[in-house]
Symmetry: C6
Subunit: 280 residues, 6 copies
């Protein structure tokens, strides 16, 4: 039962994550971290936002010369996520009642990055609980305990947001947004993406470049018929299957075409892109 506390050491990034910067995101994140301005990462799925946060935690941890590095606690937000899940609750332990901090209050107390992934998916109370943390006050009121926690020196708040998903119902309020600076994420350029694909899937450079070409071309279709383009991740998946002996066409089929859409017209367009690159 003593395990009912978030083990902060579980959240240390022990080895340097593989991450290829695509612009000035490292400089912006560092400046914001130093100025204690919370960061909002904007961009489509599979462009490396999560890994970027892990990378920055690792790099800033080094820079800060903290013995144990800078932990990063990631919360994948969803419709039923409440303030209580983030801040903590009382649990019954035999005849005693035990308090258990949530991921957010743990980071606020012990320091480190708290990354709320797709916060707009969570229940509305969660977007409000971060307001006093995200402005000059840097405090977290813990209503259930009647206390207020002042944020640790190294506490840093990061949230993400996928503009492609947002509807009128699921939109961040201006009073939330205007507490953050926004760093945009987009797909890397062809050369960088090929480098990533080769590194992650183990395919040869030629195949990696071919897959990157497919990614780029599909993203041009996107504006017209796809809600979202092929992410770098699905290109890596295609590469991995090729590496395991599946033919390039079939690998692209199950990793890309089948996933992106159910519409026949669009599928045909995607297939044309693929067969132009892998004619065989």
């Amino acid at each position: 039962m003593k395990a009912r506390e978030i083990q902060i050491q579980n959240h240390m990034i022990k080895k340097k994550p593989y991450y290829l910067p695509v612009g000035d995101e490292v400089e912006l994140f560092t400046a914001a971290y130093e100025a204690k301005i919370p960061v909002l990462l904007k961009g489509p799925t599979g462009t490396g936002k999560t890994r970027f946060v892990e990378y920055m935690a690792y790099m800033l941890g080094k820079q800060l010369k903290r013995k144990k590095g800078l932990p990063v606690i990631t919360v994948a937000c969803h419709e039923d996520l409440t303030t209580t899940d983030l801040v903590g609750k009382f649990l019954l332990k035999g005849e005693e009642t035990v308090w258990m901090d949530g991921p957010l209050s743990t980071a606020v107390k012990k320091g480190g990055i708290c990354y709320l992934d797709e916060i707009v998916e969570a229940r509305k109370d969660t977007t409000v609980i971060i307001h006093p943390l995200a402005d000059h006050r840097r405090i977290l009121p813990v209503d259930k305990k009647g206390t207020v926690i002042e944020a640790h020196e190294s506490f840093f708040l990061v949230i993400s947001y996928n503009p492609g998903y947002q509807s009128i119902i699921k939109e961040l309020k201006q009073s939330t947004k205007q507490r953050f600076i926004a760093i945009n994420f987009d797909y890397p350029d062809k050369e960088k993406e090929a480098e990533i694909i080769a590194h992650e899937s183990g395919v040869d450079k030629k195949t990696a470049a071919d897959l990157a070409r497919i990614g780029e071309k599909i993203r041009h279709i996107e504006g017209h018929a796809l809600t979202e383009g092929a992410s770098t991740r699905v290109l890596v998946y295609a590469g991995s299957l090729i590496k395991k002996g599946i033919s390039a066409r079939r690998a692209c089929d199950v990793s890309i075409t089948s996933l992106l859409t159910e519409e026949k017209e669009v599928r045909r367009a995607i297939n044309e892109v693929i067969s132009a690159v892998f004619p065989g």
Copy 2:
């Protein structure tokens, strides 16, 4: 009370399930399993997706030379299924509180396939909980305990999805989809289907072929008026009733016609198909 733990041995596939491959699904599944890329099975009801997963668990278990085989824990998802149901919860046991893992955390810890059938039916939190399991991290955060479980070497995530059912409300998000490769499932061809019907229901080859013919023809009607065609399963049911002495026409009536639709026009079309094959 000691029984409050998922008995993993209950989930071993002890004898080889009867499964006739219809394409390269065995190779794709094997490659994905080896590359640790989660798999999404797409296709209509009654085309053997569940049995395919059991078959692969059996085959991979053999191949891995695991003494006890590879368990498969199936969860039929529904509207009220929450993260807690999958990941685990605390139970009160007299004066003690006991943790009980859910089906997902059991598979993550002990290894084996976790098959989330029709995951899109579940509450939204469940589709998000699998994100860190389904990418490079392969971890499962257990919020209630404040811990993070690293997936067992042999843990493998499979989900299914019936495109015929999906609406705008119940649709997998791109950020979920793009963590999987998709293997399509469809009805087997006439010869294979006849073989399955004969094997499963015990009818003679001629009757099995007749039933397979009916299946194929009804699926042609489908595009126009039926939401879904007659599955292999209902053809097997018709065969079983014939075997028990019910006339072929009546067996098809209660297994196929009455189930597929309430619309009179479509029923007439189905009946014509049946009486063409079983004129008596």
Copy 3:
């Protein structure tokens, strides 16, 4: 507190229920029972579906030469019925926690028919819980306990469904339907219905025939203006009131006309039918 278990002997059908077969429903049910194919009973209210199930339980019990007969556990499904209600839950008993099986798990364990009346009314999780019970697996996963129950040899699943009620929202999914065969229920013909009315209400044969005639005629109006016709049950009610000294016209008025509709036009049509049969 020891009473917190479903008493299976409460569910034995001790004497032969009065039931007049209207077609081959007895043969179909018997064949399905033997082939272990679950049965879906389709038809309007008051046509004897519940009594048919009780009758079959009695008859199959005899045939099986089970000493104690075949129990039938009926569950009237409703909007708030959950999986937990069917499968069981933990109850607090003083300082102990006691497991209590639900009606479904009781039948799965101890054998007998489980009849889920109007299952489509229940919450969606309940229609999914029966999937592994209703296919080749014949198992019931008990999530709360982490166990899986293999169905008793004599366990048999029956559900009912009233097509007149179904809307797009409340519709069985194809993946549920295609696990059953469907036996249709309809109103008996005039002669059989008169026999039932006479037997159940105690009126003389002439009056019973008159009431059956009224039933038949009203069902012809139905297609146009009534959501559902007069069931055999309301005709029996009318007979019972006549037997108690209420005039035939007034008995039909309170048992039939007032119940079937609020629309004046339709009421006039019903009244004409009644006064043609009972002119006095």
Copy 4:
């Protein structure tokens, strides 16, 4: 704590309620009671349905020569009323758990009338729980305890229903309706109503007749603009205020006009009716 049981003697009708029959409702109710056919009372508010049930309980109690009479347990149904509220639940009493029957199970066990007023307002599970009680089975399954109660000899089920209120959403299902006979309730005729007003409010016969005249005339407006006419109750209220010294016009104003509608046109029509009768 011993008081946690429904005190059946609280529900005896000790003195004969004042009730003036308006048709054959007494005979119909008696015949239905003897034939054990449940009764549905249909009609607008304030026409004496509740008092009629109390009157019949008193009269049948006498007739049955039961020493203690026939109790009547009334439940005013509402949106949040659940099966548990009707059937019973377990309560924690110190370290023990105590079962407490609900109003319905109390009447089923101990006998008497259970009157579910406006049952259509309750949650859907409650309309289903009465099905096995309202047909030939006369049983009440108590899911929470795993038992089935057979209804007491004198148990009788009465429900009410106001057709003016019903919408498509709040409508009794045919499978519920066809388990009842329906007795219609309407406003009494002018003479009877004057007699009631005089008796209940204590005003003189002339004033009572004037108020009854107003009631009758307003009900003629109703068809056009009012959802419901002035009930006998509001006419009694007007009489009571007159008796306390309020002028007849003002008494009608606050008891009738202000309550029935907010629409000016309709108010003017009502006022004209009132000032024609009470010109002063």
Copy 5:
């Protein structure tokens, strides 16, 4: 813990509330109180309904020569208010379970006025729970305890209702309304209102008259563009600010204009009214 009971002495009106009658409301309320007919107060916000109830409690308390006066328990109803909140519930106290009456059952038992302010805002079950209290029965069933409380001699039920707010969804049912008489509340005339403003805010008679003039004029705009006019309360607020040294124009601005509407056109109209009265 002994404090878990409603302290009835907290609800005594110790000194005569300042209240200026505007019509025959005192006589009507008194007559209804004596005839035990529940009262519904209808009218816009800020017209003194709450204070009128306190005034009547004080006056009737005097008249009744009760030593301790007549208590008034006010409940501001809201969307989440349930029957349980009004009637009472069991609380856990260490190892014991303690019953705690709600505001309504306290008044029913101990006597006094129970004032349910804007009852239509509450959940539907609350409007039904008052039915047997509001007719000839004068009883309150306490389902949770299985008992029925007969109302104290001096118990009196008052509810309020703002017709300007009601929508089809939030409307009192006729079966509720017709259990009450309705007393209408409206803004006082200019002279009376000036007297109230002067008394409550302490401004001189001239300023009070000016403010009353503004109130009257704004209410003429109302019919066209405002959902509700300026209440007496906001005029008193303006007076209070003037008394504290804020200029009359600015005081009206923050008390009246800024509150009543966001629409520019209407604001201009209100400002014209104000600057006509306070030209400086």
Copy 6:
């Protein structure tokens, strides 16, 4: 466990907050505080409403010569905030039950400002609970305990409201609004805003003036295409990033453009404003 009480000293404003008055808001707030009239602060996000409340608490605390100052308890309201969260609840502590006051009841008892930020976001019960606190009664009924708290001499209620957000569903009721006076908040003029930016971010006066100019110009676009203009806060953020070495254009890009809108046309307009001011 003893910590389960709100620590009022946590809510003292220990040092004078930096606040530049923009109009007569200090005088109005002071007059309202003295006249005990609750205050509603109206205006867009990031205009310093929260800091103004802290400033007034500090100033009034000085003025009152209270040794410990005037505490301010801020509650960021959200969709799931209930009365219980504000007023308090019982908690189980081992075998005892302990009452814990909420933020509102704490301020009511011990004195100080309770600031309910964006109250309209909270559940409806919370807007009703403040009614008796916000009128002449100045009381808070604590239903759960059956008591009524009279407000401390120095208790003062402040709420905020952003008119840009309100929809028909989320609107304060007139009966709530008319219990407050409204003080409007808007963006400060260019000179004041430059002063604030320089003070808060540490940039030089020239850059601060440039940023203030950008703010002003963007607010002119607002009326047409933006739901809300750039707040003072985002201008301060831009300043802070510039101070950390990010170029002025890039700083404005991530602090302003990326946050305010997703629409390309509007972004272009904003960019033109920025590049006119920072041409480099």
